[in-house]
Subunit: 308 residues, 2 copies
């Protein structure tokens, strides 16, 4: 009887990274789900345990199950898989909760099968799970979860993912206000057309951020971490966004923007000490409100999902 199983850490991620709406992302280290993937003699995909949050056990209705099924149907291995999910990332928090699940199952299965697939192919199957969560195939959270570090999704179809360098002294701070923003609402609030002048500013920032990551130029990271296209719309959905941003920048953060479609807000700082100082400051902002919140400080996880 087969008993092969692995336990993995599937990290939270930050999509968009201020200027790079729909294309940029980076991987966190201190926040993530744990999952156990187990080979079974019985064929098929079964989700056998879910802890942390109330999610469906039927594989067809669970993002981890849907991505697993997509990969399973394509590879047709002569075994099945059981999946246990120990969910730590709250669904809807804007730090890639569904991506962690969708990426975790395919990563784990690939490990147990002797790695037949490369990371881009894993992302491809994980996208099938993302569809269930967000009604569209996107990879801006999946790519950093699977590749680690900073990633740029050059194109979704055909899927092309670039691994960008990570400056060694870069740390993230996050605040997750416990409010609910529907993905449909955060999509609907966006304009279909944007001023050409704003688009130019944004692609100058994207190009500058990529250059800054390559040259470990923290001043330029600071100059590039602006979002003139999406933030003016979406920040309306996040209470006290401007106060958090002002406080974070005053405390020394290089930049502050909405994580994915929110409600989480992320900051990047040079040095862990500054990232913690930033955390303290933004905790003060939210402590004066009646909204529950959590904060995190994390190095940039350059490895992505890992076996633990």
């Amino acid at each position: 009887m087969m008993t092969e199983e692995i336990k993995i850490f599937s990290p939270a991620t930050v999509a968009n990274v201020a200027c790079g709406f729909d294309v940029l992302g980076f991987c966190l280290d201190t926040i993530g789900d744990e999952m156990v993937i187990r080979k079974t003699e019985e064929k098929g995909i079964k989700i056998t345990k879910i802890e942390g949050y109330d999610l469906p056990f039927e594989a067809e209705k669970n993002v981890a199950g849907v991505s697993a099924l997509a990969m399973y149907d394509a590879l047709q291995p002569d075994c099945g898989f059981e999946i246990e999910i120990y969910k730590k990332i709250k669904p809807g928090s804007g730090i890639g909760s569904s991506s962690a699940s969708a990426a975790g199952s395919v990563f784990g299965m690939n490990e147990l099968l002797g790695r037949p697939l490369d990371k881009t192919k894993l992302t491809y199957y994980a996208m099938k799970g993302e569809v269930l969560a967000s009604q569209c195939e996107h990879a801006d959270n999946l790519a950093p979860a699977i590749f680690g570090g900073f990633t740029l999704v050059k194109s979704a179809s055909p899927l092309q993912i670039l691994e960008l360098p990570t400056p060694s002294d870069l740390f993230a701070t996050l605040i997750h206000p416990q409010i609910e923003i529907k993905t449909s609402e955060s999509r609907a609030i966006l304009p279909k057309e944007i001023p050409l002048s704003n688009a130019i500013t944004q692609w100058a920032n994207v190009g500058s951020l990529v250059h800054a990551l390559h040259t470990s130029d923290y001043d330029l990271i600071k100059d590039a971490l602006h979002d003139v296209v999406i933030e003016p719309y979406r920040k309306q959905l996040i209470p006290h966004f401007d106060a958090v941003k002002t406080a974070a920048l005053e405390a020394g953060a290089l930049g502050c923007a909405i994580s994915g479609s929110g409600p989480s807000i992320f900051m990047l700082s040079k040095s862990e000490a500054t990232a913690k100082e930033v955390e303290k400051t933004i905790r003060n902002v939210y402590s004066t409100t009646d909204i529950l919140f959590e904060t995190y400080v994390s190095k940039i996880n350059t490895e992505g999902i890992r076996v633990i």
Copy 2:
């Protein structure tokens, strides 16, 4: 009596580089103006000679004169300058003719004064000359002329210019159809608003191109050299654009797009041999028309303006 003078080569440049409208540019090597800048005891700026094209001698009406005056007024040196312009780049060709003049005078003066200004400051004064030519301060041709290689204008105000790496085996091919496109017309044809989805494609390409230049990834350069925002409008002003592009790509070019606001069209290729093959092919396309044209092949000039 002072007799100090220098002769310089002020190169043609390609702005926009397909995906990077208004921010990216690169510097050519085989096409450019020559200028002589001479210190004089008599104060002020005088243009004493212009060969090649019919341009105004009054400093206030000549781009080289206007940029020189802006720098001269700011520095207030205890000498004057004479400028001779041997114009090789046809005005209105879309390969930075006015930028070569505007950049050349300030570069030459700076050399003769012992280099009091850095390259960003030189670009700043050169922009004052550009205003005369294009009615707006932009630096996307000036930056590559002054810095060499590939440049990204992160912002025009305050002026911030990034020097991007140049892969060693990259060569440019250009075709300059002898038609006139008014800058005002090529600006007026552009939409004020663009679809968000196209903007996303464009900034994914800008980020990818910057990454590709850093990693000398020629395949990715090819994938990134697309312009979904500007080209669909401006190509209407350039006869046979689609035929040139198709032929160039078939001949092995990595990409083909409008140089600046046209009418010149540029291609980038891996290797000089391919760049020459591309030149031959696009000559064939235009030879069947009744439009006069010139073509060039050039390595990427990583030095920019130089003393000769």
